[in-house]
């Protein structure tokens, strides 16, 4: 309709898309082994998956509570202690599941894109 609602719709969709990808990407990043919070944030920032950090803390908290992530505190030489996260077996399974889902989704979206292009 007007420009404003169009803009807000776009912003909303973008936020929703990123939000949907967030869990998967966090699990992906943790797939490499022990990662501490700030590293996660940096990587997600670079991938433009998060704009502000606020959204990440509740997510990590939730995943840890559900037993998908394990964590430990480690002293750091500079600055405050760091919280290192890694995947539990449950987390690894979830990662594999999501990976499958994502690839299927990616394939169908790609197919649709190709369809519209031709």
């Amino acid at each position: 309709m007007n420009k404003n609602s169009e803009n807000s719709l776009r912003a909303q969709s973008e936020v929703q898309m990123r939000k949907g990808m967030l869990v998967y990407c966090v699990l992906l990043l943790l797939g490499d082994g022990k990662v501490y919070t700030s590293e996660l944030i940096r990587a997600l920032h670079q991938a433009e998956l998060i704009v502000v950090e606020g959204t990440l803390y509740p997510l990590l908290n939730r995943l840890a509570k559900d037993g998908l992530l394990a964590y430990e505190w480690q002293e750091s030489e500079q600055g405050p202690p760091r919280k290192y996260y890694w995947l539990t077996d449950g987390g690894k399974k979830l990662l594999a599941d999501l990976q499958q889902t994502y690839h299927r989704l990616h394939a169908s979206v790609s197919a649709l894109e190709k369809g519209t292009n031709t």
Binding site: N61, G79, P80, K83
Partner: protein, 426 residues
């Protein structure tokens, strides 16, 4: 803005400017409202410490408001910390208007400005109402002080937003921070009517403030004088007969003195507050003083209730009447009546003068004699002060004379009380 304070963030000590501390605390509190798990908050604090370290804010450096703004930008809207979307919407109603004292637009403590914000009315109207209520029996001042004590000040940006009934978001927070410097001053300057009226209010506040300080100081001085007087009279407050001095009575007087001094002090403080437009002492000192006043009042009240019946008994026990029978008379000469003597008339079968008095005054000072059928009452020698040492209640030592005769006598003194037309006896 050089004031700084120390805080701990993620187990690290930081020096932070007072302004920045206020902002940071408001922000952390907002996050806490959205987060159910304390662990998240401590993690956020850790992250803050880390971010600050990355900004080279450590050890000697002071955290400034700009640093806090940076943290907010990085970490995001407190709402983002909500665990899921349902909770986010459930939290919306907390963004409704709240009553705060608006010290940014305050004349005195921001009570009127805060009420104006809350009810969406021009501050000027609220102030006028307070002034009117003050002249109508002093209620204005009382209500103002109560609200001053009860209503919190809007200290953080988020509280200022709540005061205006706006949702607390990053954007709205930014708006407040920017407007606080420019917008507030501009808004005040723009209101052409409010300008001179507000200036008049300010002057009025100062004048009233000075009056209060003077009154309070006089009260303090008066109490100090009274205390010295009592001290030099061996604690004899009122004559011992009326006021038998025991431990309870001593305590009663002391608590009355303490309460009096404290109340006078509050008058002075209130005057200073009106003048400086800021409560002059710390909240905890104010609280202590109020507590002391209340304790003093309670103790004084309890003691007074305990002591009062004894005083009344003493008083009654010390009321005496002496009857002097005199020669028959048909006229009364009161031209030599002194101070402190009241005359009553009574119809009685005999001629007499009854003296009603308190304690043991010098009765010889009251001379009653009948000469050529005229009763002469001479009380010029009588002095109320004679029977009393310490602080005297004059009326207490007033003497009442009842003149009794079968027929109403004539009174030659035109200034003396006229006897009632008494019915002829028999």
């Amino acid at each position: 803005m050089n004031e700084v304070t120390k805080i701990h963030l993620g187990r690290q000590a930081f020096t932070i400017s007072v302004d920045a501390h206020r902002e940071l605390k408001g922000y952390l509190d907002a996050i806490k409202r959205h987060v159910s798990d304390e662990g998240v908050v401590s993690e956020v604090e850790l992250r803050m410490a880390e971010l600050l370290a990355e900004r080279d804010v450590k050890d000697e450096q002071v955290i400034l408001p700009a640093d806090v703004d940076f943290l907010k930008e990085q970490l995001g809207n407190p709402k983002d910390f909500a665990e899921d979307d349902e909770q986010e919407t459930a939290d919306q109603p907390t963004d409704t208007k709240r009553l705060f004292r608006d010290t940014d637009n305050a004349m005195l403590a921001g009570v009127a400005a805060g009420l104006g914000n809350y009810f969406g009315v021009d501050v000027l109207i609220i102030r006028l109402l307070f002034v009117i209520a003050t002249f109508a029996g002093g209620w204005g001042i009382l209500i103002y002080i109560v609200l001053w004590l009860l209503v919190p000040e809007a200290k953080t940006s988020s509280e200022r937003l709540q005061m205006a009934g706006k949702p607390v978001t990053i954007d709205s927070l930014k708006e407040v921070v920017e407007r606080a410097d420019v917008g507030g001053a501009a808004r005040r300057a723009n209101n052409s009517l409010a300008g001179p009226v507000n200036a008049a209010f300010r002057t009025l506040l100062k004048v009233v403030g000075v009056c209060f300080v003077v009154i309070g100081m006089s009260l303090l001085l008066g109490l100090a004088t009274a205390a010295l007087y009592v001290f030099f009279h061996n604690s004899s407050i009122v004559q011992d007969n009326l006021f038998p001095i025991g431990i309870k009575e001593h305590l009663l007087v002391y608590s009355a003195a303490v309460v009096g001094i404290l109340l006078s002090l509050f008058v002075v403080l209130f005057g200073m507050a009106l003048y400086r437009r800021k409560w002059p002492i710390h909240a905890w000192i104010t609280g202590t003083l109020i507590g002391m006043t209340l304790i003093g009042m309670a103790a004084g009240g309890a003691l007074a209730a305990d002591v009062a019946p004894h005083i009344r008994d003493r008083y009654n026990a010390n009321l005496h009447t002496t009857v002097r029978t005199v020669q028959p008379f048909s006229a009364v000469d009161l031209s030599q009546l002194g101070n402190g003597v009241t005359i009553n008339y009574e119809t009685a079968p005999t001629y007499s003068v009854s003296l009603h008095y308190y304690d043991h005054p010098n009765l010889n000072a009251i001379k009653t004699s009948v000469k050529d059928g005229t009763l002469i009452v001479n009380s010029r020698q009588y002095s109320r002060a004679e029977g009393c040492n310490g602080i005297c209640i004059d009326d207490l030592y007033d003497m009442t004379l009842t003149i009794s005769s079968p027929n109403a006598p004539t009174v030659d003194d035109p200034y003396a009380p006229v006897p009632p037309v008494a019915p002829v006896a028999g």
